[in-house]
Symmetry: C2
Amino acid sequence: MPPVSERRERERAHRHQMIIDSARELAETEGWEAVTTRRLAERVEYSQPVLYSHFHGKDAIVAAVALDGFAELAADLRGARQAAPAPGPALRAVCDAYLRFASERPALYQAMFVLPTDLRFASAETPAPLRACFDEFVACFDPGNERRELVAEVVWSALHGITVLSASGRIPAAWQEERVDLLVTRLARTP
Amino acid sequence: MPPVSERRERERAHRHQMIIDSARELAETEGWEAVTTRRLAERVEYSQPVLYSHFHGKDAIVAAVALDGFAELAADLRGARQAAPAPGPALRAVCDAYLRFASERPALYQAMFVLPTDLRFASAETPAPLRACFDEFVACFDPGNERRELVAEVVWSALHGITVLSASGRIPAAWQEERVDLLVTRLARTP
DNA sequence: CCCGGATGCTAGCAGTGCTAGACATGCTTG
DNA sequence: CAAGCATGTCTAGCACTGCTAGCATCCGGG
């Protein structure tokens, strides 16, 4: 491949990531309803149609943002789990890391778990970062427990429910600590 | 008040409810993204601006739909709880009723719990139907348990998480039964 | 009978996601 | 080295959104 087109491809890749990053920044500072193709194009200093040479449409852009988010979340969860001394405290640590991620990057979390997306979950073509996130929850349980995937799903669902309901003001923001306590202590043990 | 304006007011109230019902039907059949002020106006056979003489804006219309939904959900939950023989099975019955409501009326559920709304939750000016829904969960626990409100919040959050994650394909639609089993059996008891 | 106020309409604004077609730039080939 | 092709980008515009200003029209009260 000639070096010129090599450089072009590099620049194109750079611009690709620039679009994703700009969308994410814009969403984090002003919310997703402020992320429009016009404002996004203005930010990356190109016209709107170039966005469509990188992504099928706006949905694909938020999906790309979400994918980056899943990679970060997986790293966070893994770090929290491995820093814990035992499987018991590990679940608690992972839950805390999950809630911290959601509250520190609400727009990113929204792109990952709330906004309509065509990312495939729980199937063969599920991207690796998604699966990695879920696996961190599963890994907190005894491998001998054949229902551990089910328990992980329930824990994850509960955390997600707590997150979105408190983010939208549907449950009080206080008592988060106590809710996680309740959740972990009662769901962790294998009866 | 003269009978003529009395009739007018009655007609106006009828049209008011007609807007709400049309919005709900449209959402149930084609999803909320298909509910536009134009289509809504066409359905009630008036022009768009009349919508704004009834509601501040589109958000207020979905809030009205949601409010109707809360009344129905509260009735469902109450019926399920009172049909149960004891507090233990009651929680399970209420959870089942909740999930059935969510899966049978997905758009209505979305208006109530997912779409951005200015309905006040968990505060002084919370509308009665909202509070009634939450209270049905609380009533499943022993009044002597001073943490029963917290437990109710967690149960509700988990149900909500299960609902939205499976509705958006983020967890498999199967195993719902088992998830609720897990949730109820481990969170119900008062240790 | 005529007037005034309420009522609902037409038309339009500013914004959205997305795309067709023009244009220029630069690479490849005769 | 020049001609022409292909790639890349932009301008302009489409069909749609929520929402509103201002104008008819109609009906009840004096």
